[in-house]
């Protein structure tokens, strides 16, 4: 009996979600989805990402658990390293408590259903919080003990690439974001922020010449991180939204550094607490980023690390940034959120998909059951306005499955005249890491309306009569 089942039977309630139970679930029910590496490997010398890249080259995307990663002191780290969790939508479906075969439309619709809700967090005591089993503060903190990963050749150092949490000093809400954190010393990190929510919060502290409290949630249940990547307006409390996506109240506990003024996830494997000193900038990067290209070396903020707390046998988590692990994780929350936003204006929207071919961000495929000409453009404009990552929107009819790129490209080929169906929108806020942008901030967005016109006849898609196909089930011939 695994721990999750045991907890459920003892308490009569569903177990609290945590990373180790998720790994156990995958290994028990879907063993092909987990690869254990028992050899010693050097994460800070590209050895873990080398194995991931070699798997990817063969079209293999298992979740990989490195049991004996070396830390930066050259010792076997007490923390096993889990990575590539999100490289498969089937595992993401499992993370949300769904069946693997529900990994396409059903997964994004379930996310859209959950992200429309809010579940307030629950504060528990330190004694009840697994993340407080080991507490290190001040000079006892040594980040060299962690198996931090150096991912790509131009990265200058190992990077923690999970989620810093910040709290708005005026509104009081918590914001969670995936931001890269460069290892700079035993108690020091660099941090990169683009002009989004975390940047806004940090700016408020800096304007008052105050340090910004920051907590990096290094490892937690994958539903936590799927929830963290929601596309919500500034001011939404991400702890509440993460709870909604996890389908349970997120348990929180007072931090070591700020007590009740800054709560941290109690069921995380590990958290790092620190402060961003105002006005301090140092060189950081380059870093292999989500588009699969390097972002340049910049002058960025630093974090003075104050505390590390973790479970006794904590598991360290990493994202293989710039690869499907990164792209799928980014896509699912955006699909869910954009579906909800579009549905409010175009009720016949059927599906939204952000494929890996667009890094899970830049390209967005929307299918609608169009009733009125012009609805396709309405849907596209909402997607472009809601999410600055989305650059190229393809709108297709309901007979096209947006999760099948071949079908989307077929619609593009047969239902689009560039002079009539393509719109270019210049000077829109984009993603600073998009290598094709010629401006620092602004990008050019594109709408491709690959839907058929409603008000005139249009060539019908060919089909073999359905009733005849049903008389010849293929199973009869494939034995």
């Amino acid at each position: 009996m695994n721990r999750a089942t045991m907890t459920q039977q003892l308490t009569g309630t569903l177990p609290i979600k945590n990373l180790r139970d998720f790994i156990a679930l995958v290994e028990r029910d879907h063993p092909q989805e987990l690869l254990r590496i028992k050899d010693e490997v050097r994460p800070d010398c590209f050895e873990t990402t080398a194995i991931l890249a070699n798997l990817e080259q063969k079209g293999l995307y298992p979740m990989v658990l490195f049991e004996r990663p070396l830390n930066q002191l050259g010792q076997v780290s007490p923390f096993p390293l889990i990575t590539n969790i999100y490289a498969s939508r089937k595992r993401c479906a499992l993370a949300l408590g769904m069946r693997p075969h529900q990994h396409q439309l059903e997964l994004s619709l379930e996310y859209s259903r959950r992200e429309a809700q809010r579940i307030p967090p629950t504060v528990i005591t330190r004694a009840a919080a697994p993340v407080k089993q080991i507490v290190k503060t001040g000079s006892d903190v040594d980040l060299r003990e962690l198996p931090i990963v150096r991912h790509h050749r131009m990265d200058p150092a190992p990077y923690i690439d999970m989620t810093p949490v910040m709290r708005d000093p005026e509104l009081g809400h918590y914001n969670i974001a995936f931001l890269r954190n460069m290892y700079k010393g035993p108690q020091k990190l660099g941090i990169h922020m683009s002009p989004r929510h975390s940047w806004q919060i940090c700016r408020k502290y800096e304007e008052k010449n105050l340090p910004t409290p920051v907590v990096i949630v290094v490892s937690h249940h994958p539903a936590f991180y799927l929830g963290a990547l929601n596309v919500s307006p500034f001011g939404v409390d991400d702890y509440e939204l993460v709870g909604a996506v996890m389908n349970e109240s997120l348990r929180l506990v007072p931090s070591e550094t700020w007590g009740k003024d800054f709560l941290v996830p109690a069921d995380a494997e590990m958290v790092i607490e620190g402060e961003i000193p105002p006005g301090v900038r140092e060189v950081e990067g380059p870093f292999g980023e989500f588009p699969g290209t390097y972002g340049p070396q910049r002058l960025r903020w630093v974090i003075d690390v104050k505390a590390v707390t973790h479970r006794k046998d904590a598991i360290y988590q990493d994202i293989f940034v710039g690869h499907p692990d990164n792209w799928v994780l980014g896509a699912i929350p955006k699909e869910g959120t954009l579906f909800n936003r579009i549905k409010g204006v175009v009720p016949t929207v059927k599906a939204v998909h952000l494929p890996n071919s667009g890094c899970g961000r830049f390209n967005c495929y929307i299918s609608i059951d169009k009733k009125v000409d012009g609805e396709s453009k309405q849907a596209a404009l909402i997607a472009l306005g809601e999410c600055d990552f989305v650059k190229n929107v393809f709108v297709v009819d309901a007979d096209i499955n947006p999760f099948n790129e071949q079908e989307v490209m077929w619609a593009f080929a047969t239902r689009v005249q560039a002079d009539q169906d393509v719109d270019i929108i210049k000077n829109v806020k984009g993603a600073t890491l998009d290598p094709s942008q010629t401006d620092d901030i602004m990008t050019t967005k594109m709408i491709i309306d690959a839907t058929k016109p409603v008000r005139r006849s249009f060539a019908t898609r060919i089909e073999v009569p359905k009733e005849v196909r049903e008389r010849f089930p293929i199973e009869r011939y494939l034995k």
Partner: protein, 67 residues
């Protein structure tokens, strides 16, 4: 993307990407991501500027900060 320039490290002779606006004229030492060498922009072995022009120490066409 943001404008970038590519300095070549004076020690290991490999080049990398650097943010033009923030670091081209900031007089801040760059960090070579390959060998850890820290050096001023003017100490680079060579530079490919954001507009594609190339520059080496001692060249007469050394770029100046504009604006």
């Amino acid at each position: 993307m943001v404008k970038i320039f590519d300095p070549t490290c004076p020690k290991c002779k490999d080049k990398f990407h650097v943010h033009h606006e923030e670091l081209r004229f900031a007089h801040t030492k760059l960090l070579c991501p390959y060998c850890g060498e820290r050096f001023q922009v003017e100490e680079a072995d060579s530079i490919v500027e954001h507009d594609g022009t190339r520059w080496r120490p001692g060249d007469d066409n050394k770029p100046k900060q504009s604006g």
